[in-house]
Amino acid sequence: MPMPEWLRRRRAEPEAADEAALWTKCPKCSEVLYRRDLISNLFVCPRCKYHFRLNAFDRISMLIDGDFVEIGNDVLPGDPLGWVDKKTYPQKLAADREKSQLSEGVVCGFGTLAGFPIALGVMDFNFRGGTMGTVVGERLTVLLEMARERGLPCIIFSASGGARMEEGMLALMQMAKTTAAVARLMSAGNYFISVLTDPTTGGVAASFAFQADVIVAEARAMIGFAGRRVIEQTIRQKLPENFQTAEFLLEKGHIDMVVERSQMKPALMRLLDYGLGGRKEPAEQKIPELVVT
């Protein structure tokens, strides 16, 4: 299938002219990988199976059949606290926009997955470490509200360092806001699937990510509440290698399943099929022109 136009426009592809851009080193096993092979292998290292952290639009392209109608990208961050540490918050945001080619840490919208119309939210670790500030909270809340209005299932892919400190308590309150929207969606009978990807921690893990009907984790993802360093400092000893991995959480009974990236779309298709009782044909009227009001 050719790359949809919206993706071609937005995806940051390395220029082939640059020799360095042709090769990527696996951060886990240090294998040097030909970038085109890496892309065709869904950004999974063929040698050690390390799952590279994905750009939100790459993720969407691996899941959505055709067109993806984005919502909420007009919701943009401000600087409510007038934050300064080593840099000002607006400087950090500008740098992250440049780096990630995204306007904020989550991309939300509507499309079909294997024929099922869904509401989809995908967080991106490249923007402020996927932290949840007011914009991430607002976009996800709008997505959850619209899914409820349209009677659609909602899938959210998390990748987050937690609440965004530069927005202070307004960021923490997004845990409350998204929880309230999840509760409304679920009590209306809508199906909610949470997919935890590397890494899912802090305020995101402790809100919508762990409130879903079904909780899936991508293979080898790091998932937890407290960061590894914080725990190591508290207990003053090294943690075992597999601590807080998706596989560890599966063994402890925290999540429903661990899924390799190559199997993610088929797995979600089956989960949608079980939850919704048979494949729904994409109903045109269910995905109209979307305008956030």
């Binding site: 401000g78 609440a163 307004l170 929880t179 509760a183 809100s207 990510a209 409130q211 914080v230």
Partner: protein, 325 residues
């Protein structure tokens, strides 16, 4: 080291001398009135100097003061209290106390995060840092209140959720997420009072409420100033600066609409006159419950949704950013 405890030392010395002179004066062996008055003036001056306008960092220290009233001090002033224990799965977390209670004759569920008052009690109570079992007890009590139609009142006082290995093994994230969920859907009035330190998600798990009260010198923050400084400056020593940036004081948070009401503390902090502070806090809780209980349940739930839905002010921000870029 607690900066408030340090600064208080001079005041406490002075107080001791004044009291000694007073008792001498009462024995009427000497007329010490003039000397006492002079010392009292000095005392007042020093007190205003130290506590007159406290910085955010000083308030962080005040919120952690070892003598500051803890949840059990508030709960023991209720008309009745019967503690309920355990999460029905694993253990009873001593960092949470909760159960049935009565406040001004009204039946309620009360839940509190419990710091210890000395080292021994702190070790038992894990310094008020709640484990997943504690949050599952909280969720159970919220659900119980909702089922029996009892309003839920919580006292918040924690550095943050417990960050240990076993807490991760039993899914701290899920435990907190489910408290938030239960507080969102509870079809009864909910009131939270932040009485000391409100540390991040571990505090929010009890503080999502229809009416949120903060004691004047309490703090409520997305991250501890030390943690924030370590992450953003790479230097935990910048905690004082982080405290100023985080906008964690009661006044800041009322301006942001994140809390609803501030209960005043005497000059020098709540621990100087704990009985008065506890009484005015319980009065504020009771008044909020009167007001919330008068509402129809559907209205209560709708207003709770609207309250948290508004937080973030993204419309204004969107316009501001559009102007900047």
């Amino acid at each position: 080291m607690n900066v408030i405890v340090e600064r208080e030392k001079g005041l406490l010395e002075l107080e001791k001398r004044i009291n000694a002179l007073r008792s001498l004066n009462a024995e009427q062996t000497l007329d010490l009135a003039a000397e006492i008055a002079a010392l009292e003036e000095k005392y007042g001056q020093l007190q205003r100097e130290i506590f007159g306008s406290m910085s955010p960092w000083e308030k962080v220290n005040m919120s952690r003061h070892p003598n500051r009233p803890v949840s059990s001090d508030f709960i023991s002033e209720l008309d009745a209290f019967d503690e309920l224990h355990g999460d029905r799965h694993f253990r009873d977390d001593p960092a949470i106390i909760g159960g049935f209670a009565k406040l001004n004759g009204r039946r309620i569920i009360v839940i509190g995060q419990q710091r210890g008052r000395d080292t021994k009690e702190n070790l038992r109570r894990n310094f008020g840092m709640v484990t997943p079992e504690g949050y599952r007890k909280v969720k159970r009590l919220i659900d119980l209140g909702a089922r029996l139609g009892l309003p839920v009142v919580s006292f918040v006082d924690t550095k943050g959720a417990d960050p240990g290995i076993s807490s991760e093994e039993r899914s701290q994230s899920e435990a907190i997420a489910q408290c938030l969920f239960s507080l969102t859907v509870a079809r009864v009035p909910t009131v939270a009072a932040i009485i000391g330190e409100g540390g991040s998600g571990g505090a929010l798990a009890l503080a999502l409420a229809d009416h949120v009260i903060m004691l004047e010198n309490s703090v409520y923050s997305v991250a501890s100033p030390e943690g924030c400084a370590a992450i953003l400056w790479g230097d935990a020593g910048k905690a004082e600066e982080a405290a100023a940036r985080l906008k964690l004081t009661s006044e800041d948070l009322r301006n942001f609409g994140i809390i609803d009401e501030i209960v005043a503390e005497p000059l020098g902090g709540a621990h100087r006159e704990p009985a008065a502070v506890i009484a005015s806090t319980l009065k504020a809780v009771s008044a909020a419950l009167d007001r919330l209980s008068a509402k129809a349940v559907e209205q209560l739930i709708d207003e709770r949704y609207a309250k948290y839905r508004r937080m973030g002010r993204w419309e204004t921000q969107s316009r501001e950013m559009a102007a900047v870029t």
